[in-house]
């Protein structure tokens, strides 16, 4: 994968140095920022993607996500420590594209960047009403309201269909509980995670070969769900 400017926002110089070296080796140009003020200035250089650590000395990284989302679809990947689930969820709900838990491998980071960049390239608008999504063994036909697994049709309830459609529309991207609840059930239901879990469990039992070892409908504990990205779906 070649090029593009990546903005790295992290207050740890060691982390910035490491990310910078890795991304440069993979053909990206890099601009670094150690705090919010520097990050805001660096946005003027029009990066293609932002890697953002949430804990910054002069404010919350979440503010930067909001600033960016107010004006653009610039992909943002949040990195944070494991014990800060709530921060991750807030960042995703504010419009961050993905998150990585520290410590992470650089292979993982590059994979997430690939997904985010591809989404940014294809996020020119909502899918056409007659869109057909294909991920792994699944094919979902919006217009005909039909889902097949390896060519065999499965019957889904309207809720299951809509959940699957949302996840298949964004393969590789984590969708928060809150987001799925808002889109499928409406803004009044965003706290009712047990509704979502029950329907996701039913969906998993219908379309996963072994629901206890789901291979495609992945769970991000405490955060949300993610449709696995096909391993060989390369660059945009």
């Amino acid at each position: 994968m070649t090029g593009g400017l990546v903005l790295i926002v992290d207050d740890e110089p060691a982390m910035r140095r490491l990310l910078s070296a890795t991304l440069t080796a993979h053909g990206f140009a890099v601009v670094e920022a150690g705090d919010l003020a520097e990050a805001r200035r660096a946005l003027a250089e029009l990066p293609r993607l932002v890697i953002l650590d949430l804990g910054l000395p002069d404010g919350d990284g979440l503010e930067l996500v909001r600033t960016i989302r107010a004006g653009s679809a610039l992909p943002v990947i949040v990195i944070s420590a494991r014990d800060r689930e709530a921060d991750k969820i807030d960042a995703l709900d504010a419009g961050a594209d993905d998150y990585l838990t520290k410590p992470f491998g650089t292979g993982e980071l590059l994979a997430r960047m690939r997904v985010a960049l591809r989404h940014a390239a294809s996020a020119a608008g909502e899918p056409a009403p007659d869109a057909v999504f294909t991920v792994g063994p699944y094919r979902l036909d919006h217009a005909r309201h039909v889902v097949t697994v390896d060519g065999a049709e499965v019957h889904l309830t309207p809720i299951e269909f809509r959940l699957l459609a949302l996840l298949m529309q964004h393969p590789g991207k984590v969708l928060t509980h809150r987001h799925l609840l808002r889109v499928v059930w409406g803004p009044a239901a965003v706290e009712q995670t047990h509704y979502l879990r029950v329907h996701m469990a039913a969906l998993r039992r219908k379309i996963e070969a072994d629901p206890g070892r789901a291979k495609w409908l992945l769970t991000e504990p405490g955060v949300g769900y993610r449709m696995r990205e096909e391993p060989d779906s390369g660059t945009p």
Partner: protein, 352 residues
Amino acid sequence: MPVLPPRSAWTYGSSVVVVAATTGVGLVAFPYVELADLAMLYLPAVMVAALAGRGPALVASTLAVLAFDVCFVPPRFTLVVDNPRHVVTFAVMFGTALAIATLAERGRRQAALTQQADVRARTEELRATLLSSVSHDLRTPLAVITAAASSAADPAVPATARAELLASVVAEARRLERMLSNLLQLTRVETGIVPVREWVPLDELCGAALARVEAATGDIAATVAVGDVAVPVDPVLFELVLVNLIENAVKHGAPPLELVAHADGARVRLEVGDRGAGLAAADHERVFEKFYRASAAPGAGLGLAVVRAIVTAHGGTTWARPRADGGTWFVVDLPAVPQPAALGPAPVEVAR
């Protein structure tokens, strides 16, 4: 010594009740017993009240003296006392009550002090164990990382050896991270954080936990047969329970793993089984202790202690038992709680 609540309205109320009851008994017995024996009846009542504290003791002994005087001492049903001998009886009643109350108070204070000292000693002991374990278990991976990374930086090292060195840096760093996060969660759960409970299907938890362990170890031969059982748990903490049980089975047991669950009216039981050599009889309980390691395999001996701490915080219990045909079952029992209605509201209609 019974542990009684502090001098509340309840304890004062109960001293009144005890004295009244004793007077009732005395009135029934009056025709058949001596006056001195009747006085003895009040002693237990005053003693019981005295255990609750000095205030209730004074109230009870005053009431007892008045009741005894009015109801039984001739002339009856007046406060007048014929025989000065009875004044001695009154004094003994007061004295006994005060003495018992003082002793009880001292006992209570002593017990509180002992308990504080106990807690302090245990904390000290834990801190010492923690420090020695942390310094040993965290230093081992750090030593490997330092040595491997500095060798890898040496230009004389051939590329194949460098790749191997760097792989061990990654593996040891991940191990370090797991230890630290276990230590952190253990501290958190033991300092009494309240789990955030949500209804989570067990197959979702098992799938996520297996995937997380597999990301570090590669594919694991495991079957998951948990049906559609859901449990009211903190999803993040309980994923850690499963991750630790699975890691434990992989590290100390042998594949294939089995994750099974049953629910009846009283509880939900989740079991993780392996096909390893099993545990020595004495180890079935000890493996849940902090820093205890049943085998020589590397680790800090924290994983199962974290499992037990989290399960206990959820009101559940956990233990290990041998499998009849080799290996170990690790059992997690959670009390059954009625599940809320499974169906959500109708989805919002959106034009397609």
